[in-house]
Each structure stands twice: as C-alpha cells, then as structure tokens.
C-alpha cells in the first residue's frame, strides 16, 4: 500500500477476493474480528485491508460463494539467510512501539522434532501381533505413586487380600488428557466441552490456573485442578473439587516467567471464577513466592495433601529446561505423586516471543532423561510422569509412552480439534474461531455440544490407533509399552541424541 510507514507495508497475508464470485453479502465483514473486511459506502461493495489480516481463514471458511482465499504474502525483502523477514518485521514493530514482542500458540521455530526421527517396532513371526478389534487391549492408566512392593494376606477362606495401603490414584481409561488451559485464556463453552469430553471418554482435563466454575464441579471425577503462583480461584472447595491437584511451577512455552491475563479478557464469569475484579489485569508472578526451594515445594505439596485430606494425588508441572532431570528428581523427593514435564513446543495464550522461541528444550529429550534419572535413582515408582508440549498425533503418544511417560497432555491438539487454525493471536481476546476469547459474540461460535463431541471423537480415534500400534507390537496393555525403549529406533540422529533418548539407531 502506498504512503504507509514501512512496518505497514510488510504484512504477512493477502486476501484474494474473486470479484465474479463475491455477492457482497458481508459475511466476511461480520466474521472478521480484526476488521480486515469492511463495507465501502462510496463504492457500495465489500473491500478489505490486507494489513489487518492475521491469517485465521475464518472468512474463507464461511464465505458462501467461496470467493475468498487467504494467502501468505511473499516477502519483498532481498533474500538473506541470516536476516530472515521475521527479524526485520519485528525490529520495525519494536522501533515503533518500544514493546516486548508478544506471541500466542506454541513456538514455530525450526528445531528438531524428535518424534519424526523415531520409529516404532512391530512383531513378525516370532511374537504374534494382536488384533485389537477382536482381542482385549488395555489402555487403562493410573497416575500416582506406586508402592515399592505389595504385601498380600490371605483371609481364613483362603482369599487373597491386599495388605499394602495404596496412595490415591487418578484413573484414566486412555492415557491422553486435555492440558491446562484456564477459563479466561479460553472461554466457558470450551471448558464445559473439555469437562464433558473427559467424562465421556474416561480421561481428565486440567482447569489451568483460572479456577473452576461452580457449574463444572459435577465433572470433578475427571478434573485436575491447578494451583499456580497467582492462586486465582484457589480455595478449599476448589481444592476438594477435582481428582488431582496440580502445582504449576512452569510452562513449556514460557519457562521461568509468569503470566498476565489482560483486563480485556476478564468478564463477569472469569472475574467470578478467578475471584478478581472485572477489567483489572490478573498477574501471575514468575515464581510461587512461597516456593524458593525443594523444601518449600515439599511444604506446598503437603499443604495441598492436608487440604484435600490425602484423597487425591498431587502433580507438579515443570517446564523442560536444561537440568530438568535433576529438578524432576527433587520434585519427586518433595512428595509429588505425578511430575508433569512440559516441552518447549507447548502452547500458550500469551508469551514473550523471545522466551517462547529461545528458552527450554524439546519434550522428547527431557522426557527420556527424566524417566532415566528416576529409574537410576530407584524412585521411578514414587511418581507418574506426564509428558506435554507438542504432541500432534497418536504416534507421538505411543512414542512418548515408550520413552517413559505414563500419560500425555494435549493442549494445542485440543484446540485444533475445535477449529483452531494456529493464527497465534490468542492474547488479543479477539479469536475469530471463538476459542481464545471471552467476547460473548465471538465465544458463541463454539457450541459446547459440538465441541464436546469433537473432543471425545479425537480421544476415541487416538485410543483406537494406540490399540492398533500396541497390537502390532504384540502388546496387549499400555503398561507393557511404558518405558520400553526397545520398541523405538532412531533415524538420522547423532550418537549423542541416541544416547540421550536411550534408543538404538534403526537397523541395530
């Protein structure tokens, strides 16, 4: 566009409108929450402003005559391997505003995706594979500390009885849970959908750090309630409402920093649930200021155990950082029943781009190291491991479990299931797909019935696929795959990478 400052010239997307197909019905104008489409009164037709397009594809999907296409705008910059267009655009923006670059969704940076470099095994001849459509296949998973040994007594009728007192467990029919996304970051329709889908498929969803709306307490059996540094919506009823409590220490997308839910996203329902005033920022400090050491963490873990009268397991969620294995060991020794490790590709509603794209390590490496460390120290039974951060399909789930996870969290995949297109503007509160928004008009775009069905479908589909893969390996239970790295081989990986992952190269 002419006569624009340079930062406006280099926008990311182009709206292509087929003039023959367009009937000027204004659907695009109504659908676009960024005002990229508008009605031009003088020309009496629908026009658009490319600079405002965020590439969400909402207009394209809803255009009744398929007149719209959203395309990437090819860079006009002279090609440069070091100075890629994104760096120029960011510098223009920061020179204009002095602002910290804010980003939404998981990191798009090009770092190795180890899931893609690991391959699974299958049985041939020597150990028959199993057909899950006709034979029993066990995906049931219990999260929580397991006893070192079991003692069994027989009563006078000769019936065996378990003498060992088991600690509380979170029971899952499928080892896939909906990750922590707070009410506020996403809206109530989706919180409700996650609660219902988790209940229907026998898994769990995590409330995130924004509290739990009273009307969702009835799904408590399938709910993990989160306690984060801001303690929003944390009170004794909340702590007793779920089947597990998670202390959020870190998040893969933004290790080491806190969060700000901007005042714009705090409407009546969010305010009521978080117990903070409408319209003022909800700021989560970077650390829990009552946790400055492993001893302090122990204190909070046991505070939550006392508060819930030792009825539910306590999870501690940490981001995958350089010393994650040693940290996880400390977390388990502090009394956590579940340790959740969130890799650097994990999603977020808002994170400074520099943190999201440069801090942390991939979940695959972190998971392998945490599992190994806990085994080496003889404390693997004391806690379950949940892996999160960039799990895209059931193949990733199976590989995560073979690397040592007990279960996984899916966040980004959950949102994609209800229509997210990864446009990455979750922090604006204007999500055109009605997901990361509390605007009443926009959030209506998510029907909780449909969203719950889609989420339940996803869990079922992945569950079937996991059964197929297990059957192919000759296993009839997810237990037999857990930490079974013999079922994995690496391709195109260095000796160091293979060593960290604890797997052999394909062909060996």
């Amino acid at each position: 566009m002419l006569f624009q400052p340079i930062n406006k010239n280099y926008h990311e997307f182009c709206i292509e409108r087929d003039k023959d197909l367009c009937i000027n019905c204004k659907v695009c104008v109504r659908q676009c929450s960024y005002d990229a489409h508008f009605w031009d009164e003088s020309r009496q037709k629908v026009m658009h402003d490319n600079t405002k397009c965020i590439g969400c594809h909402r207009c394209e999907a809803l255009c009744p005559t398929a007149a719209l296409s959203i395309r990437n705008k090819p860079s006009d910059f002279r090609p440069h391997k070091l100075w890629r267009p994104v760096f120029l655009q960011n510098i223009y923006k920061q020179a204009d505003t002095g602002g910290v670059l804010l980003a939404g969704m998981g990191s798009p940076v090009d770092i190795p995706v180890y899931w893609d470099s690991m391959l699974l095994d299958a049985s041939q001849v020597t150990n028959p594979s199993i057909d899950p459509l006709r034979e029993p296949m066990e995906l049931k998973t219990f999260l929580g500390a397991k006893p070192k040994r079991l003692s069994i007594v027989t009563d006078k009728n000769g019936k065996p009885k378990l003498k060992t007192k088991l600690t509380p467990q979170l029971e899952l029919d499928v080892p896939i849970m909906f990750a922590a996304m707070s009410l506020g970051a996403i809206n109530f329709n989706l919180h409700q959908a996650m609660a219902r889908a988790a209940t229907e498929t026998g898994t769990a969803y995590n409330t995130g750090e924004g509290g739990l709306h009273k009307s969702l307490y009835k799904y408590g059996k399938n709910t993990i309630v989160q306690v984060a540094s801001g303690r929003f919506g944390v009170h004794l009823d909340y702590l007793k409402a779920g089947s597990a409590i998670e202390i959020k220490v870190g998040q893969g997308a933004k290790p080491g920093i806190g969060g700000h839910l901007p005042g714009e996203k705090i409407n009546f329902m969010v305010s009521e649930t978080r117990m903070v005033p409408i319209g003022s920022d909800a700021i989560s400090p970077a650390p829990h200021h009552d946790i400055y050491s492993i001893e302090d963490l122990l204190q909070l873990i046991y505070a939550l155990k006392e508060a819930s009268e030792y009825k539910v397991p306590i999870s501690v969620k940490i981001a995958a950082v350089h010393n994650v294995a040693a940290i996880a060991s400390g977390v388990v020794r502090a009394g956590a029943d579940i340790v959740t490790v969130d890799g650097m590709r994990g999603g977020t509603g808002a994170a400074p781009a520099m943190i999201r794209d440069n801090v942390g390590i991939p979940i695959e490496l972190a998971l392998a190291q945490v599992d190994q460390r806990l085994r080496d120290e003889g404390i693997r039974n004391k806690a379950s491991i949940v892996a999160a951060g960039g799990i895209r399909c059931s193949g990733d789930v199976v590989k995560a479990i073979a690397l040592g996870a007990d279960a996984v969290y899916i966040g980004t995949a959950t949102l994609i299931a209800v229509g997210c297109t990864l446009c990455g503007r979750c922090y604006t509160g204007k999500c055109p797909w009605g997901i990361a928004t509390n605007d009443s008009k926009l959030s209506k775009r998510q029907n909780p019935d449909i969203a719950a069905r889609k989420l339940a479908n996803l869990i079922r589909a992945w569950g079937h696929e996991i059964e197929e893969m297990l059957g192919g390996m000759g296993l009839n239970s997810i237990e037999s795959l857990r930490g079974n790295r013999d079922k994995l081989r690496g391709v195109g990986l260095s000796d160091t990478e293979l060593d960290i992952l604890g797997i052999k190269h394909a062909g060996r």
Partner: protein, 253 residues
C-alpha cells in the same frame, strides 16, 4: 441462635503434624468448636482448609502454613509464628502475639492477620480483594523486603512500633513493588529508597483515617494494646500507580 461451643484441650508435644491435624479434623467432625493447643512445637498446617466458626488458642509456636486456605476460623497464638501464615486464606482471623516469619498472607483473599511484632520477607505478596472479601494484615513491628509485592487488593497496615530491630527501616527494600491494587498504610514515614519503582507515599485523607482507626481499634483490642497510642502519630499511604502496570509493555508479533 448462638451455636453451642464445645471445648477441647490438646497437647501437641511431639506428635507428628499429619497425625495431629487428623485428630483435629476428627474432633471437628464430632462437633468440637474451641481448641486450646498446648506445647505446640512447630506442627505444620494447623487450621488448614478449615471452615466455619472454629477457634484455636495456641500456646507454643505453630509450624509453617498455619491457617492456609482456611475460611472462617479464629486462631490466637500467644507466641511466635513461622513462615506461610494464612497462605491463600479466604476468611477468618489470625492473631500472633510475637513475631512471624516470611511469606505471611501470600495471595490471601479475605480475613485478618494481626501480628504484634516484626515480620520477615515477602509478606502480603499478591493479596487480592474480591467483592466483600477484603484481606487485612496489620504488622505492629517492622517488615522485611518485598512487603506487598504484586499486591492486587486489600489493606496492609505497618506500624513499626513493637520491633526488635531498632536500627532497621520500617520496611525493607522494594516495598509494594508491582502493586496494582489495594493500599499500604505506614505509621510515620517511609524512607524513599525502600519503595518499589514508580511508587511514592501520599498523605492519608479522612476516608483513610477512618479505615485506619477501625483497623487499629480491632487490632489493639485483640492484642490488648492502647489504640490511642498507636493513632498518635501520622500515617502515610502507598497506592499503585496503575491497575494495569503492564498494559503498554507489549507489541503483537
């Protein structure tokens, strides 16, 4: 109708906290409302997540996280308290006749904590208010660093009177850093260097004085102090410079 009180005296002695708290929970189920706890030796989590009109009178020093998550009970300690008193507390009152440790009233949302003497670091961090929930902390002595950091609501009143640290300033460094709600009142003056970035003290007005007076009367009554003596000096207040301190920090990328 006034509910009938049922009293019980317990000796904490060397009982492990888990067992001790279980005993208290059982007794509450049996209808006990008033506890006198003798020989308290650092047992953690006393009163945690307890609800309703329950009273604890503690002789000795209770351990970490006293009254965490609680909603309603009254706890009186005739001695010192440790760290984490009133962590994420919802409602009720905790009165401490001695000094208290670090992280008092972290993220508390309602209720009162009255401490006669000094407190440690990070007191009143991220206190918040919601509708009629208005948390209040009164410290009779001096406070360590980071008093009221991230404060989002409620009232902290710092008197600096009954202190064992005559040479220290009334509050440590970074007083009120990042506060975006609530108010901190200080008796006397606050050295400018102790305040967090962007903050300054202001004189109190008649509305503030009314709040202070009411709070001091309550406090003095609980701790058998002379409220006139406490109110005989000037007070200053510290308020956030913005309810959205980070509103303009970011640019979309």
């Amino acid at each position: 109708m006034v509910a009938k009180r049922k009293k019980r005296t317990l000796t904490a002695g060397h009982t492990y906290y888990k067992q001790f708290n279980e005993e208290i929970r059982e007794l509450i189920k049996e209808g006990v409302t008033d506890f006198t706890i003798n020989e308290c030796n650092g047992q953690r989590y006393i009163g945690i997540a307890m609800e309703g009109d329950i009273r604890f009178h503690i002789n000795g020093v209770p351990g970490q996280d006293l009254g965490a998550f609680m909603r309603g009970p009254y706890i009186h300690i005739n001695n010192n308290a440790q760290d984490g008193v009133g962590n994420t507390m919802d409602d009720g009152r905790i009165v401490i006749e001695g000094i208290a440790g670090d992280v008092i009233g972290y993220a508390m949302r309602g209720g009162d904590i009255f401490i006669k003497g000094d407190v440690g670091y990070r007191v009143g961090i991220h206190m918040k208010a919601y509708l009629d929930h208005q948390p209040k902390i009164v410290v009779g002595g001096k406070a360590g660093d980071f008093l009221g950091e991230y404060m989002a609501g409620g009232i902290i009143l710092l008197l600096g009177m009954f202190s064992g640290k005559p040479d220290s300033p009334v509050a440590g460094r970074n007083l009120g850093t990042g506060m975006h709600g609530g108010v901190i009142y200080v008796r006397g003056e606050v050295p400018k260097d102790q305040l967090g970035p962007g903050l300054h003290t202001q004189p109190v007005d008649s509305g503030d004085l009314k709040v202070i007076k009411e709070l001091v009367n309550d406090y003095a009554k609980e701790l058998k102090l002379d409220s006139k003596d406490i109110l005989s000096d000037n007070f200053v207040k510290i308020r956030p410079f913005s309810h959205r301190p980070y509103g303009n920090l970011y640019v979309a990328c």
